[in-house]
Amino acid sequence: MPPTSSAARREALRRLNFSRELAEKGWYHSMDFRDGTAAEGVISLENLKRRYALFPLPGDLMGKRVLDIGAWDGWFSFECERRGATVTAIDCVEIDNFLYAQQKLGSQVDYRVLDLFELPQAGLEPFDYVLFLGVLYHLKHPLLALEIVCRFTREVTVVDSFVADADTWRERVDEVPWMEFYETCELGEQLDNWVGPSVGCLMALCRAAGFARVELLGIEDQHACVACYRRWEPVAATGQRPAPVLLAACHSLNYGINFSANRDEYLTCWFQTSEPELRREMVLPQVGDYGTPALYLTGVEPKTWIVNFRLPPGLARGWQMVGLRTTRSGLSNTLPIALDVPAEADHLVVIDVSDGISWERGTVRFEGQGFLSFWIQGLSSNCDRHNVRPYLGVRRLTVEFISQAGATGFRQINARVPAGVEKGEHSFTVRFGSAVSEPQTVRVV
């Protein structure tokens, strides 16, 4: 085996001492059973309380839902419950101590034996706050795990993980984020440790998973603790720059407005702002209530910008509003996108198929390029440039523009005729969902 980082070697030693101590004490978390009895664990009560105090959770959790992933003996679950929260605790193995403490405390915590990757199938509703402590580096697919956690978070997740550069990260904040991979038991002589991210990598993974912003809370004993927020900071009440104007919001690949919650999907937005020297980090996009980090920003013309970002996880199906602001402005106007909204039509009516430039009916002039315009009725409101599929014979045309529906329900659609289409008569049809319009004859000249 190649040498692993000194951090991994130190973790091995720490783990060994820890295992001895755990075997002697029997408890990992210390526990105050609030009846005069207590259990002394490897982690003292003072230490647990000090860690909890770092978390950006409200003191009063009445009415809030909390998920504790990898609860172990359960101190954090019981502490959140004591503060009023409805708590679900999961662990990959059943811990006798948790059940014992639950009984002693008369706790109502919903305790389930689940692997993290079983969470999406467990039928649980999202949580206001999620604790994800000491689990990430045990997982083979850390970014997938964080995506799942993000999907179940409405406000904040606290992530605590082993990091491979706890001693050196301050000197190397500019380096590309990296993580070590542990094929066997290189980390702590345990075979269920898979990755050791750098501090920068841990934070980058949390953002990439879909959290809007990530804050380092502390580093101790080779572990880093970070708070991951689903929303941007509140808009400053005073000194605001004018809000940007959102010109368009569409799917990065197909320019439509339809998205699927189950896929890795990206949005592209065009917007205008008078703010000078805009940088990626200064643009704060949001979909529904959730902020999502900008991945790419480029200026297209003076004051007009394009920004790309990932669809944040955990949005409800249906229509969602997209907006953005800068670190110094208020929120822009918003534009709608459709999340898993079916594209179906009962009946499609197409009238007035004509050349897009000369308006000549039933004809398309093709000279290097050609455009065709038509008016159509019956499309559902989530029709877009991708799901409206016009055909000349078997060749699909590229939709370039869809108008709003007029008073009679008709929309104008402009489409580009593909290169290589043969001259002569073709059957023109429009498909949408499973519906097909009546064929019409169009002559390419």
Partner: protein, 467 residues
């Protein structure tokens, strides 16, 4: 971290951006040669593509073989595999128009599918003798999950090529270098936002093994890209091995000590076996599950020629029984031991309640013979109630294929769950149970039966709590 940085390197970004603009001008990514000798020029020349394929040990004759080309792009590799006689399925995450045109011009029968790597499964596509996975891995957000999907689809060999961050080092040095991957949150690598991970060469090899391949070999490193051949089978055993075959006592889930595994959980198999070979090392162990080789994560010597290995459950095991066996580099294969994979919809919990035994009078199997009861810590019949003390019952039974839940162990007539059952060979078995918490000082009787047999003889033990 001393890996040379490609990410954020303006030279590298410039080169990628130049390629992108060249591609836009040329239109085609892969050059394609038509049967009449016409050449459609693309960004990558036919020679370059031939060289790339030739760097892997892909058979020239593929008649009757199924080949999957993941990330087919313009399709040159797919069409070449088809030319060699294979049935080819090509998949890509976006529809590439030039693939369709070339397919038509070549009169090709390649089955083209639009699928993300996350969507690939044997249910959808069947399994393949050979899988090509070129230039895709670093575009995945979950690289190890992607490789697991590839492994599950492969019955023989996968050929993998990926961007690596230390591609400028000599192969030997790079292989034994640190196992790290860079993570690209935005467009750090080449100015593209769909590049997520850059592994070191050592990390790439580790990931391939961790995903379930038995043997992983670095073929070459060219231009920041490493080619790796990943085989699902071990090398054939030597025809005249000097050492006797090991004996597998049991193969269990290391979380539950049971023979049941769940597809959604991260599960590890723990195999206990006997071998006469001294000083075994991890890289000498060859574990097979249904004929597929699996790498061992840890090896522990238990004494008295007993050994334990732990390994990850390989991806793609169908629901139902699977056969586990072990050999060493110098031996033939052991006996096989059966484990079970649950279906995805089946209850995750293996503690489905006690098994129901038949009434004693309608037993169909002969009574087991309980030939020894031991304290696992001392090897005696004296117990003290220590935390790690277990009750081991050794018995003979001719009943085939016993599992943990077929055996009922009783202390003074009260059943105590069997945590673990080992097949010792020649009808010998061993159970492990906890010492019952209610046990009082003095003498007690242990006995056992199977679900289908009468009770064995009883054996007396002594319990003395030490103050």
């Amino acid at each position: 971290m001393s890996a040379p940085k490609v990410a954020g390197n303006p030279e590298f970004s410039k080169r990628v951006q130049e390629q992108v603009s060249l591609l836009t001008r040329k239109g085609w990514y892969h050059s394609i040669e038509l049967p009449d000798g016409t050449l459609i020029p693309g960004l990558i020349s036919v020679e370059a593509q031939k060289l790339r394929l030739a760097s892997f040990p892909i058979p020239q004759e593929l008649t009757g073989k199924r080949v999957l080309d993941v990330g087919a792009a313009g399709g040159w590799c797919s069409f070449e595999m088809e030319r060699r006689g294979a049935d080819v399925v090509a998949v890509d995450c976006v529809e590439v128009e030039e693939f369709h045109i070339a397919r038509k011009l070549l009169g090709s029968q390649v089955d083209y599918r639009l699928l993300d790597v996350d969507e690939l499964s044997p249910d959808k596509l069947g399994r393949f003798d050979y899988v090509l996975f070129f230039g895709v891995l670093y575009h995945l957000r979950h690289p190890l999950l992607g490789l697991e999907k590839i492994c599950a689809l492969t019955t023989d060999t996968a050929f993998i090529e990926s961007f690596v961050i230390d591609g400028d080092r000599p192969a030997g040095e790079a292989q034994s270098g640190s196992r790290v991957m860079e993570f690209y949150e935005t467009n750090e690598l080449g100015g593209q936002i769909d590049n997520w991970f850059g592994p070191s060469v050592g990390c790439l090899l580790s990931l391939c093994r961790a995903s379930g391949f038995a043997r992983v070999e670095l073929e070459q490193i060219v231009d920041c890209r490493a080619g790796v051949t990943c085989r699902r089978h071990w090398e054939p055993p030597s025809s005249d091995p000097p050492e006797p075959a090991p004996w597998v006592n049991s193969a269990v889930n290391n979380r539950t000590n049971d023979i049941y595994f769940h597809p959604l959980k991260d599960e590890y198999i723990c195999i206990y076996f006997k071998s006469h070979e001294p000083a075994l090392t991890r890289d000498q162990i060859r574990v097979e599950i249904d004929g597929y080789g699996v790498n061992v994560l840890v090896l522990a010597e238990l004494g008295r020629q007993g050994w334990q290995v732990n390994l990850k459950v390989p991806p793609g095991l169908d629901p139902g029984p699977h056969q586990v066996r072990v050999r060493t580099l110098h031996s033939l294969f052991s006996n096989t031991f059966q484990i079970f994979m649950r279906g995805p919809g089946e209850a995750a919990s293996e503690f489905a309640g006690p098994a129901v035994a038949c009434p004693l009078e309608s037993a169909t199997e002969p009574a087991p013979f309980l030939y020894e009861v031991e304290n696992n810590m001392s090897g005696t019949r004296l117990f003290h109630g220590y935390r790690n003390e277990h009750l081991c019952c050794f018995f003979l039974s001719s009943e085939p294929g016993l599992t943990r839940r077929d055996v009922i162990v009783e202390m003074d007539g009260r059943p105590e769950p069997v945590l673990f059952l080992a097949d010792l060979g020649t009808n010998g078995w061993q159970t492990n149970s906890r010492i019952p918490a209610w046990l009082e000082e003095g003498r007690h009787e242990a006995r056992l039966r199977t679900l289908r047999s009468p009770y064995s003889n009883a054996v007396e033990i002594r319990f003395e709590r030490l103050s």
